[in-house]
């Protein structure tokens, strides 16, 4: 057994062990358990990533002989846990008195148990886990960002109830996420997928207020139905093609899959859309905002929603077999991006702004997958990675503000730069990296705009969406940096539990952005070839990104550094240089308020419109395989 295979399995087992230890531990011991396991998971994830990059292999197959114990133990273990899990989910549905959730849980059980009975219980897969480049991106993000969020939560959760349960589910979440991403065996993917449903339910439920319970219930309903779609897709694959393994399915060729075989990608994409909170399934992620902020950070950056788009990216080669299907997915993604960017304009609760931004960026990923050219898939992976990192950091900063100043309202964040200069800098960096060059997300947007020339209608959605993105981030940042002449009065030193994760992610963002061309050239391009795509060369953006001359992005870095450094170095500010703001001669402190574009009324109208259109598209995605079969 190779070291890298062990490390890959450890990314599943280590967090699970952490969960088991964190649950019963006392307050003091738990702190050490969390810190130790977070450090260990970061180490494992980091070393695994570096080893993978160093060895430069296409994919690491983790076969049955690498599993440590007999494969039968794994198979029976997971099957048994899966059944227990589905019973628990059924119980949760019943407890929250949701008929919708109960029906979904029963349906899942019928499908999975029925299929296993037909297929034969306890059949060992040929190849249980695969660590390829796509999986590596997600595992690395999950291990590193996820663990940093856990560290952050140690301080954030102080003084709150039921911390044992909280940290247990946080760690379990990380383990399940890694398991789902690494699984090649589809039933195992389903199992890990449903574990993340369970974790998200309990984490949203955590505060046990009425609002938290209602939101958890909504999340359970929507994600359970996503699970039904996933289970149905998997069972169909097993029933029609006799295989439950992703790599076999991918290698099957168009003649077999074209027609009704497309039901598999269609169902998996719709399942992925529920997890990724794409319109029309976006409501649960907005409701999830009631959870403690580290949970939001976890859901939005390293786990839950990423799993949804991961499934969709995985299905890209199958979607490509039937372009109408693929383009419908692209359209749903594009509309999600434009609509949520518009919706974010109407919000003054910063967590909701960020939530809409998440949904929109993942919509962009879905759109890129749907366009389905090599360059657009590079864009998808870029946006997925850089969005996860930046969004994790932004949510943690919002967590600090929420914890220290007890507010989530943008209107109350005026003058934050005077109270919390460090957090303000982090937010400025995070927002700039979400929208502007030279940071990594810009490279993804650039590629996606270029790819959208295939479908000019998407270009319109992209143009409006990205302008609106600039607007809502600038509006927020503008509010927190606005200050009077007064000298700063810091709100007191920040806890290292806050400073270290935020600083680490900030450094990571800058480093990753500088490495963008490297990432494109030696990571994203080979990844595509591994997925059966050609090389993205020929796309101007992809070619430019990959060239080592690096002249344009380098120029942006240079000019930005100059714009920062020159005034800092050259402009010395003495008291006599300071002027008062112009207030028509009145001697008063100006009061300002933001502009929210119609607020709730606009939000409702736009939501209704986007939900109806996207629901139509989601139905179309499920119907298109039949059309492909008939015609």
């Amino acid at each position: 057994m190779q070291l890298i295979e062990t490390l890959a399995l450890l990314t599943i087992l280590l967090p699970t062990l952490g969960a088991l230890l964190a649950y019963p531990a006392g307050d003091k011991a738990r702190k050490w358990v969390v810190l130790a396991f977070a450090a260990a998971i970061i180490l494992v994830g980091g070393v695994m990533t570096l080893m993978f990059l160093y060895e430069g292999e296409g994919a690491v197959d983790i076969g049955n002989d690498s599993l440590g114990v007999d494969v039968a133990a794994w198979v029976w273990g997971i099957t048994a846990l899966d059944i227990v899990l589905m019973i628990v989910l059924l119980y949760l549905g019943a407890r929250s008195r949701s008929l919708i959730a109960v029906v979904a849980a029963i349906l899942q059980m019928v499908i999975v148990v029925g299929f296993e009975a037909w297929h034969g219980f306890g059949k060992a897969p040929e190849l249980p886990f695969v660590l390829d480049r796509l999986a590596l991106v997600l595992v690395a993000v999950c291990c590193i960002i996820g663990s940093l969020i856990a560290v952050f939560a140690v301080h954030y959760m102080e003084g709150r109830q039921k911390k044992g349960r909280f940290f247990a589910f946080v760690f379990l979440f990380l383990g399940a996420m890694n398991g789902a991403v690494l699984s090649n065996e589809l039933l195992w993917l389903f199992f890990f997928w449903e574990v993340t449903t369970l974790c998200s339910y309990y984490l949203i439920f955590h505060d046990e207020t009425d609002e938290a319970k209602a939101s958890a219930r909504l999340a359970l309903e929507i994600t359970l139905w996503g699970g039904v779609a996933l289970a149905a897709g998997i069972a169909y694959a097993g029933w029609k093609f006799g295989t439950l393994e992703m790599d076999v399915l991918m290698g099957m060729g168009s003649d077999k899959l074209l027609g009704l075989g497309l039901v598999i990608p269609a169902l998996l994409v719709v399942g992925g859309m529920t997890k990724a909170a794409q319109v029309p399934f976006q409501s649960w992620l907005l409701g999830a905002m009631v959870a403690p902020t580290p949970v939001s950070a976890l859901l939005h950056s390293s786990t839950m929603v990423n799993l949804g788009v991961y499934a969709i990216i995985r299905m890209a080669p199958l979607l490509k077999l039937y372009l109408p299907l693929s383009y419908t997915v692209a359209l749903a993604g594009g509309i999600t991006f434009a609509a949520t960017a518009g919706l974010a304009l109407t919000q003054n609760n910063v967590k909701r702004v960020l939530a809409y931004s998440t949904i929109g960026n993942l919509g962009l990923v879905v759109m890129c997958v749907g366009i389905n050219t090599p360059a657009s898939l590079v864009a998808a992976v870029f946006i997925l990675l850089f969005h996860a990192v930046s969004k994790g950091m932004l949510f943690l900063s919002v967590g600090v503000i929420d914890h220290e100043l007890k507010t989530k309202d943008i209107e109350e964040m005026g003058g934050l730069s005077e109270k919390m200069p460090f957090v303000t800098m982090i937010i400025v960096l995070g927002s700039v990296s979400m929208m502007l060059p030279p940071f990594g997300l810009f490279a993804g947007k650039w590629l996606s705009v270029e790819a959208a020339t295939q479908m000019p209608m998407l270009l319109l959605l992209l143009g409006v969406g990205s302008a609106a993105t600039v607007l809502y981030y600038t509006k927020w940042v503008g509010r927190i940096i606005s200050r009077t002449q007064a000298t700063p009065k810091p709100a007191g030193p920040l806890s290292p539990y806050y400073k270290v994760p935020l600083g680490a992610i900030a450094a990571g963002i800058i480093m990753l952005s500088i490495l963008t061309p490297f990432f494109a050239h030696s990571f994203a391009f080979p990844m595509l070839e591994g997925m059966g795509y050609g090389s993205p060369h020929g796309s101007a953006a992809a070619d430019l990104l990959a060239t080592n001359s690096y002249i344009w992005i380098g120029a942006v870095f240079l000019f930005m550094a100059a714009g920062l450094a020159l005034p800092i170095a050259l402009v010395a500010v003495k008291e006599k240089d300071k002027a008062k703001v112009y207030t028509c001669g009145e001697d008063m402190e100006p009061q300002v308020a933001g502009h929210y574009f119609g607020g709730e009324r606009t939000e409702m109208t736009v939501t209704d419109l986007a939900v109806s259109v996207c629901a139509g598209l989601a139905i179309a995605i499920m119907l298109l395989p039949y059309i492909a079969e008939v015609f």
């Binding site: 810009f442 705009v449 600038t474 101007a540 953006a541 930005m560 920062l564 240089d577 703001v581």
Partner: protein, 291 residues
């Protein structure tokens, strides 16, 4: 990559604001004539700038100045990239960055007029950015690439409606009536600019000139010819034509409200580009027969 060309591009970038200043001087002269005045000398904008730069510095806070400098560097970069022949899409994003830093600088001071102006500036961004993106897409449709390097094609023949849409963008970018909603001197005393004075106002002015230079450079992209002299004369003529239209509109209209501005640019501006793109596509695909 031709390094000599990068050097030439750098030189052009350095002198570009002076060219725009001359254009601004011409603008003021023509405007004055339209209003039956004599008007200032052609070089007046440069005199104004010299005067501003020689003044003592006054500022509200340092953050404002840092962000304003970032705005200027991003505007310079956008023009340099354009002349050096970079991808139009990167230039699009760099322009976005310039606009974002400009508004952030305005938000950085707690001044009522500056804050209102910043919000209006953002609404302008949301109005003209999609149009600019579509115009770049039009260039892509005709040229087959997003490169900003000039070609021999007469884009204006292919993209007349996109040219009209660019005039709308130019009105916004040059802060001309009816779309001068962000600055709006008579209403919100200069909006984002109200809190600059002396040296730093001069700095921001230079930034505006670079932005204007880029807008004119995009306009010049619409004319091309294999003969370099014809191309140069044609480009210059097109720039003057655009400037003249802008002056004419500026002097014959009153300022719209910001909502009206956004609506007009987003509907008519986008519609012009979409129709034009559809026609070009139809011709290229042979749907519409073309001699």
């Amino acid at each position: 990559m031709d390094y000599l060309w990068l050097v030439i591009a750098t030189i052009i970038t350095v002198i570009a604001p002076f060219a725009v200043a001359v254009l601004a001087g011409i603008d003021r002269r023509i405007t004055a004539r339209m209003q039956n005045r004599v008007g200032p000398p052609i070089l007046q904008p440069i005199y104004d700038l010299m005067k501003l730069l020689s003044k003592t510095k006054m500022l509200i806070n340092k953050g404002q100045i840092i962000l304003a400098t970032l705005y200027v560097t991003m505007s310079i970069l956008a023009l340099w990239m354009f002349i050096a022949g970079a991808d139009l899409l990167i230039i699009f994003f760099v322009l976005s960055a310039a606009a974002a830093f400009y508004t952030l600088a305005a938000y950085a001071v707690l001044s009522p007029f500056s804050q209102i102006g910043a919000t209006r500036e953002l609404i302008q961004v949301i109005a003209y950015e999609p149009v600019v993106l579509m115009v770049f897409f039009g260039v892509y449709l005709v040229n087959g690439s997003f490169s900003s390097a000039a070609t021999d094609d007469m884009l204006i023949l292919w993209l007349p409606l996109m040219f009209a849409a660019m005039i709308l963008v130019l009105l916004v970018k040059l802060q001309k009536s009816p779309y001068d909603v962000a600055e709006a001197h008579t209403e919100i005393v200069g909006g984002p600019e109200v809190e600059y004075s002396g040296k730093f106002l001069g700095l921001v002015k230079v930034g505006h000139w670079y932005e204007a230079a880029l807008a004119f450079a995009v306009i010049s992209l619409f004319f091309g010819s294999p003969n370099i002299y014809v191309a140069f004369a044609g480009k210059l003529l097109l720039v003057f034509l655009a400037l003249f239209i802008v002056i004419l509109v500026d002097n014959s209209t009153a300022r719209l409200r910001y909502g009206q501005m956004a609506r007009v640019v987003l509907t008519y501006g986008l519609a012009l580009t979409v129709v034009n793109a559809l026609v070009v596509w139809a011709v290229q695909e042979g749907v519409i027969p073309w001699p």
